[in-house]
């Protein structure tokens, strides 16, 4: 499968710093390794894939890629977010999922500027796709 890496790589430390939240979540121990989780397919058969790298029991990197049905990478990723996530039980999973929306938000801003509009309206963007992928990856790594 041809792969053209366009997604950003985020470290958890960076994520936590950006989110402005660095405490009040539980400790989780993970097995070292690289784990992959996929989301459901969207309308065009594209799906999100999260690759999570665990080093010394902690999440070291999280990389999100959206694949087209034909195996090429979709040039859209989600999320530039620095807001609140209230569900502490899934705090780190949700953070990773939300981070995966960064590129999509940037893409929206870029598209708005390109089209000369102030906002773009469409069906509700959902971060459940990202949450699903992250959950699927982390389900494999929890000891």
């Amino acid at each position: 499968m041809k792969r053209n890496l366009i997604s950003m790589i985020f470290t958890l430390a960076f994520t936590l710093q950006l989110m402005g939240c660095n405490n009040s979540y539980r400790d989780v121990t993970y097995k070292d390794g690289v784990y992959i989780g996929k989301s459901s397919e969207d309308d065009l058969g594209a799906y999100g894939e999260v690759r999570i790298t665990i080093e010394e029991g902690s999440i070291a990197e999280c990389e999100y890629v959206t694949w087209q049905k034909d195996g090429s990478i979709k040039d859209e990723n989600y999320g530039k977010v620095n807001g609140e996530i209230s569900n502490q039980d899934y705090y780190d999973k949700a953070q990773l999922a939300v981070k995966a929306m960064t590129q999509y938000a940037e893409k929206l801003v870029e598209a708005q500027s390109l089209k000369g509009v102030d906002a773009i309206s469409g069906a509700t963007i959902s971060y459940s796709q990202f949450v699903e992928a992250v959950n699927n990856a982390l389900d494999q790594v929890q000891e």
């Binding site: 459901s40 397919e41 969207d42 309308d43 065009l44 058969g45 087209q68 979709k74 040039d75 859209e76 989600y78 999320g79 530039k80 977010v81 620095n82 807001g83 609140e84 996530i85 209230s86 569900n87 939300v98 929306m101 999509y104 938000a105 893409k107 929206l108 598209a111 708005q112 089209k115 000369g116 509009v117 102030d118 906002a119 773009i120 309206s121 469409g122 069906a123 509700t124 963007i125 959902s126 971060y127 459940s128 699903e132």
Partner: protein
């Protein structure tokens, strides 16, 4: 901002850069993008974010401490008193449910769980028995009110405000901004609900691109010019799953118990109320073109742009001056229908 400087030459005009406050954050299961202009922009933006997070916590049926969660688990015997915001959104939800004769229905939680939570996660279609069982509780008249902020739920109904919550939040945000003398702002709640407060700082209308369906890059089939109005879009893309080659989207038809198959791809509603525009965009999508046009003629409190499955764009007459079609190269057509002369 321009002002006349009396101390200098009479023709002198000084331009002061407008204060602009922006924030992108996550709430209500989606991406929020807020921009406020003017001297009180920062303060208004903070208030806008705070009310959004508050409403998310109150209204989301997935939040254990939320009021809707509490109502859904309250049983049907006693009245449950709710906060003013919850009361307001429920009253509006029931009003639009009545107006649309239940096509928009806030009691559809059991069906949402079956399709958008269980089926999507497990990729297993619900069977007819499960659908019938869920449908038995879906009737907005099962949400009873004592008109004093008290509610009780009958017949196991489950409230889901997914089709109105963002629109209601948009209404509240704009009201808060006006109270703070912030009169020029644009709020996008998940891109599906947009509030255009006042006009842009230069006095021109806000330009909202309408996203084309089925393109890899973000493209727009049209642009709507908005001033002091709300816009909501419901579409069958973004959320759903594929099973046996068939795609099941997230907008459910209470009459069949299945995702709506109305021959439409998206409906955009423009109105003076965010709650109305969101509730109606969902309802009109489910109704399909003919019934949506009938409803528009009968109610007349909103304007709409409909995209059919064969990519025809239909715009109600009063909106045509504010709508600019840009979808030719994307395979969209904007025929001059005779639909409005009947």
């Amino acid at each position: 901002m321009h002002f006349f400087d009396e101390g200098k030459e009479s023709t002198m005009t000084v331009t002061i850069a407008e204060e602009k406050a922006e924030k992108i954050f996550c709430a209500m299961g989606t991406l929020m993008s807020f921009t406020v202009y003017g001297a009180y922009a920062q303060e208004a933006l903070k208030a806008a974010e705070a009310i959004t997070v508050k409403l998310d916590n109150l209204l989301a049926r997935t939040k254990p401490d939320g009021e809707i969660t509490r109502l859904n688990h309250s049983g049907g015997k006693d009245w449950t008193k709710v906060q003013e915001d919850t009361d307001s959104v429920l009253r509006e939800a029931l009003r639009y449910a009545e107006k649309t004769q239940g096509v928009y229905d806030p009691s559809i939680g059991a069906l949402v769980d079956l399709w958008n939570v269980k089926a999507r996660r497990e990729k297993n279609l619900p069977d007819l028995k499960e659908i019938r069982c869920a449908l038995a509780s879906c009737d907005y008249r099962n949400i009873e009110t004592n008109h004093a902020g008290g509610y009780r739920i009958q017949h196991g109904a489950s409230i889901d405000l997914g089709g109105i919550g963002k629109g209601y939040a948009a209404d509240r945000i704009c009201a808060l901004c006006r109270e703070r003398d912030a009169l020029s702002a644009l709020f996008s709640l998940g891109t599906s609900s947009i509030a255009a407060l006042g006009s842009k700082p230069d006095g021109s209308a806000w330009k909202i691109g309408l996203r084309a369906v089925g393109t890899d890059n973000i493209e727009c089939f049209g642009v709507v010019h908005l001033k002091d109005q709300f816009l909501s879009t419901s579409g069958d893309y973004e959320q759903g799953f594929v099973k046996n080659g068939h795609r099941y989207h997230h907008i459910l038809d209470k009459r069949s118990g299945y995702p709506a198959e109305s021959g439409l791809r998206s409906v955009t509603v423009i109105a003076n109320s965010g709650a109305m525009s969101e509730a109606y965009s969902t309802a009109l999508f489910v109704m399909g073109l003919d019934k949506a046009l009938d409803f528009h003629q009968r109610e007349g409190e909103f304007e709409m742009i409909v995209v059919t499955s064969d990519s025809h764009v239909i715009c109600t007459p009063k909106l045509q001056e504010m709508f600019e079609f840009t979808g030719e190269t994307l395979g969209y057509e904007y025929p001059q229908y005779e639909l409005f002369r009947r």
